[in-house]
Amino acid sequence: MYQTNDYEGMIAETVVIPGHKGDPIRAYYARPLGPGPFPAMVLIHHFPGWDEWYREATRKFAHHGYLTISPNLYERMGHGTPEDMGAAARAAGGVPDDQAVGDIAASMNFLRGQAQSNGKVGVFGTCSGGRHAVLAASRAPGFDAVVDCWGGRVVMGDDQLTANWPVAPIDYTADLPCPILGIFGADDRSPTPDQVAQHEAALKEHGKEYDFHMYEGAGHGFFYYDRTAYRQEQAVDGWNKIWAFLEKNLA
């Protein structure tokens, strides 16, 4: 924990990185000032979009000492307000998984290539971002830790598979190379507690290191202070668990 007489500085700005297939994509990159070395985090925005909550979360992680990047997974859909882009993504059924994995892997490589990097990179996501975090960590080798916050459709029935999302992330569990922290609400309908249990069972079956937490009295999105879903006590505890997990795995 920082002390009040510590110096703290941060730079936070939009950057452009080569994403999937080399496509230039925007990302919001926040890093602590100083030579480091610092651990790093890729933040994957939720389905509502690359929005203010994710700008704030990116700076939050930088405040906690992480080189942090949040790529715009909706870059190729065009530009508008974050809400316009979220609505466009909603109508399109999200972005293709291959593309998202490519953009997330590119973000990981960007961070690991920074002069201030300690070489360790984790990935965090909420909602569909949690799903993407699980998917990308399993399919793109190199992540050192995964934080899955209420990622729905990690478990998917055959009737839920789409052209954009053709394979359930749980099917890649054997390939997960790093520890995973899961933060879930017991009142959530996607993922349901039953689906979370299925994911946990798969991790156990494949001998993976995991730590799942199911919060009573909370549903989907309970970190979002700007939504009715916000649950103060559960959110504070969830964030504390995230910092402890990352400190242990990205040092």
Binding site: H46, F47, P48, M77, G78, H79, G80, T81, E83, D84, M85, G86, A87, A88, R90, A91, G93, G94, C127, S128, G152, R153, Q160, R189, S190, G219, H220, G221, R227, T228, A229
Partner: protein, 95 residues
């Protein structure tokens, strides 16, 4: 978003957005997390013109009760227009 419930209806008409009236091509109707209404899930309608980019959008977010009331009201207005002789032949409901 998280329910992945979204249907897109091709439509023709005009909508009034930030910069005035513009032609509409689709109504994207979803039941999912709202951006504005303080609720977990709402019935959302985005009247859009994809040819003009993502910002060409007139958005509403409704409670389930409001959405059902809207559906019923639309049907009632169209029925009254038809019985009042205002609809063209090709606009009338097929018997």
């Amino acid at each position: 978003m998280c329910t992945m419930i979204c249907h897109s209806a091709p439509i023709s008409g005009n909508g009034k957005g930030r910069e005035g009236w513009f032609p509409l091509l689709h109504a994207n109707v979803s039941y999912d997390h709202p951006f504005s209404l303080p609720d977990d899930h709402t019935l959302n309608i985005d009247f859009v013109n994809g040819d003009r980019g993502p910002s060409a959008r007139v958005a509403v977010e409704l409670s389930v009760e409001a959405a059902r009331s809207l559906v019923a009201t639309i049907q009632a207005v169209l029925a009254e227009a038809e019985s009042g002789g205002y609809l063209d032949e090709d606009e009338k409901l097929a018997v």
